[in-house]
């Protein structure tokens, strides 16, 4: 079973899917000859040509809006937004159009489309190359939101997303592109959307995370294990639809719940998870549902000292675990 980096898993999957289904096209800024600023689409243009790998002008709304139209007329577009930070010009097309097309047409239309975007901080990207934007979109019925954390899941979830008949936002933490490696089978496996994974079994506390934070949560779980704190880590993998069953089953077992996310704390995705746990597992709770999240400033600052201050780290998570464990 070959080991792949996170970005290799994404690139290989795009190539495999495009070979399998000629209705798949890729479009975005610099995705062609250059192969994307992170090289996620490297080699696609050479193999699939101008018609199926399209360098667009700097027009995020057009990238998404034209993808909606192409999907309506029989294609399966995989659009790339160069950085998640730049997705906001396309917000109207995603929220008012892609998300609502099926509902507002009473199932007359569907939009089978994937929008990939690198997100996340810790890469010296400052305010506009570091954002976590998932909460804006997980709020919207009609959209699916996927955040893989391993090369295996990236491949299986990207396949599922491309084959899905609804619009999927696929957020890839850019710090993981080359730093995370893992085994990726060459088989045609799919990781279904809406299924979380228990990545570290434990008994005293449930730690819920996704993306880069799913790795940091595992590191923190290993650290506190040496202090005899047994933590169960859940990697959500898909944020919408949320795998409530896996979350609630774990919290009902452990009695404590810590939610980790990199985005600003206030109104972040973890707030919804906390509300669900409080409403549906209240009788099992043995401590306050707690969040470890980014601070409420308008962006990740550039200077490395400031960036470290912003970022959630394994150490900060371990501290949160100790505090909740002692409750």
């Amino acid at each position: 079973m070959p080991a792949r980096t996170f970005i290799e898993a994404i690139r290989d999957t795009l190539i495999d899917e495009m070979r399998r289904d000629e209705s798949i096209i890729v479009l975005g800024e610099d995705v062609g000859k250059k192969g994307g600023v992170f090289l996620a689409t490297d080699g696609l243009w050479a193999e699939f040509g101008d018609d199926r790998v399209i360098d667009t002008p700097l027009t995020e709304s057009m990238i998404v809006g034209a993808s909606i139209g192409a999907a309506v007329n029989g294609l399966r577009p995989v659009a790339e937004i160069q950085f998640a930070d730049f997705i906001f010009p396309a917000f109207n097309q995603l929220v008012s159009e892609a998300a609502r097309m099926r509902y507002r047409s009473n199932n007359g239309y569907s939009v089978p489309m994937v929008v990939r975007a690198p997100y996340g901080g810790g890469v010296h990207g400052a305010l506009y190359h570091s954002q976590s934007v998932e909460a804006f979109f997980t709020h919207v019925p009609g959209l699916k939101v996927v955040v893989p954390s391993t090369p295996y899941d990236a491949r299986g979830l990207l396949r599922a997303s491309i084959r899905d008949d609804d619009p999927v936002l696929f957020f890839e933490h850019k710090k993981m592109y080359r730093s995370v490696r893992g085994d990726v089978p060459d088989t045609d496996y799919v990781v279904p959307l809406g299924k979380a994974a228990v990545t570290h079994p434990g008994s005293q506390m449930t730690v819920i995370a996704y993306g880069l934070m799913a790795h940091y949560a595992l590191e923190a779980a290993d650290t506190v294990a040496e202090e005899d704190i047994s933590v169960e880590v859940i990697d959500l993998r898909t944020l919408r639809p949320l795998d409530k069953e896996t979350v609630l089953e774990s919290v009902r077992k452990t009695g404590k719940c810590l939610i980790v996310y990199e985005d600003n704390r206030f109104g972040g995705y973890g707030a919804e998870v906390a509300a669900i746990v409080a409403e549906e597992a209240f009788d099992y709770l043995d401590g306050p549902v707690t969040r470890i999240a980014g601070p409420d400033v308008p962006g990740v600052p550039y200077n490395h000292v400031l960036e470290d201050w912003f970022m959630v780290s394994p150490e900060k998570i371990a501290t949160g675990i100790r505090t909740l464990a002692a409750y």
């Binding site: 096209i25 018609d51 199926r52 667009t56 002008p57 027009t59 709304s61 057009m62 998404v64 809006g65 034209a66 993808s67 909606i68 139209g69 192409a70 999907a71 309506v72 007329n73 029989g74 294609l75 577009p77 010009p89 109207n92 097309q93 008012s96 159009e97 609502r100 097309m101 099926r102 509902y103 507002r104 047409s105 009473n106 199932n107 007359g108 239309y109 569907s110 019925p141 009609g142 699916k144 899905d164 008949d165 609804d166």
Partner: protein, 339 residues
């Protein structure tokens, strides 16, 4: 979409249409008007809560839509596109059930406000309320048509106010770069709700902006149905030949308020409104057809009876249809798996 051949006068022949085509086009203009007028009566009678109208736009809509191939080409319409949707295959019942938001309203099953038409069966893209978003959908449809070599042409239409949105710039630029089979129609009625075109546009004609994309931009009189048809026919031919997009600006008039919730005398003078009546495409087209001998008293009588019956039927039908069941309101957020 030429219909049966018959005795052809020079009026239609000048643009390659038969007399039967002209009569059928007139029927769509008159049918759209009659349905529209009925909608206002139903609104004022308290039967339906909201109307957004196409009165004054029908001539341009029918003339332009006539140049596209029904069931093959695509149209992303807007909220005044009643005549466009009728010409492209929706029925009076389809239009009227949308006013009543019935369970079987084919546009949305009663989920959308009236005026937000759409039909996958007829290649009419579902309309939303944020304006100009649909231009990008039509561009994407045209992109898919080019990639799939389907020979389809995609059209979108909107008002001159909507044409100021950023999506229009992004989409025209992309369509022009890739020479997509795309036609952009601006139905310029001079007002964006209450704001006159002079406060919306820095140029006299939206069509001037076509030069910025290196594509043809033409202005046509929206009351001249055949001129609208000819402009669209040329744009469609150009698109199908792989020569790229075109912009058509039809100067139309808005004979009603923006919607049933608008009182346009607050911002338009009685004199202006009276003067605009001469630009009403329905009597203009009718006179032309009568003068050319295409529209005889017998034909007119037949059409009037047909249209009256169609409007009555559509109203009675829509009145009798059930509301959607609230139990269905959670359906079709996502694709439903076959269980």
């Amino acid at each position: 979409m030429a219909v049966a051949k018959g005795r052809d006068t020079s009026l239609g022949a000048a643009v390659g249409l038969t007399d039967a085509d002209l009569v059928e086009m007139y029927r769509y203009v008159a049918l759209a008007r009659a349905l529209d007028e009925r909608m206002w009566i139903l609104n004022r009678a308290g039967r339906i809560p909201f109307v957004i109208s196409g009165q004054g736009h029908e001539g341009a809509q029918v003339g332009i839509a006539w140049a596209f191939q029904r069931g093959h080409d695509w149209i992303a319409p807007f909220y005044r596109s009643i005549a466009t949707c009728l010409t492209f295959g929706m029925s009076p019942r389809d239009i009227m059930t949308a006013q009543y938001a019935t369970a079987n309203d084919p546009s949305s099953g009663g989920r959308q406000m009236p005026g937000h038409y759409g039909s996958h069966e007829h290649n009419l893209v579902s309309v939303s309320s944020p304006v100009a978003t649909q231009l990008l959908h039509a561009v994407g449809i045209a992109l898919a048509a080019k990639i799939r070599k389907s020979g389809q042409v995609a059209m979108t239409s909107m008002g001159e106010g909507s044409s100021n949105q950023g999506d229009v710039h992004e989409g025209l630029n992309f369509a022009a770069i890739h020479k997509l089979p795309f036609v952009f129609v601006v139905e310029n009625n001079g007002y964006a709700i209450s704001v006159p075109a002079a406060m919306q546009l820095s140029v006299a004609d939206v069509a001037e902006r076509a030069a910025g994309y290196g594509i043809p931009g033409v202005v046509v009189d929206g009351a001249d149905v055949l001129a609208c048809y000819a402009a669209a026919r040329d744009a469609v031919a150009r698109a199908r030949a792989g020569e790229g997009p075109s912009l058509i600006e039809a100067k139309v008039t808005r004979l009603t308020g923006h919607s049933s919730d608008d009182q346009q005398t607050k911002y338009r003078s009685e004199e202006e409104l009276a003067a605009e009546k001469v630009r009403d495409p329905l009597p203009v087209f009718r006179s032309r057809l009568v003068e050319a001998g295409v529209l005889t008293p017998e034909i007119e009588e037949r059409l009037a009876a047909e249209i009256k019956a169609a409007v009555e039927d559509a109203t009675d039908y829509a009145e009798a249809q059930p509301d959607p069941d609230p139990a269905t309101a959670t359906r079709y957020v996502y694709a439903e798996d076959v269980d």
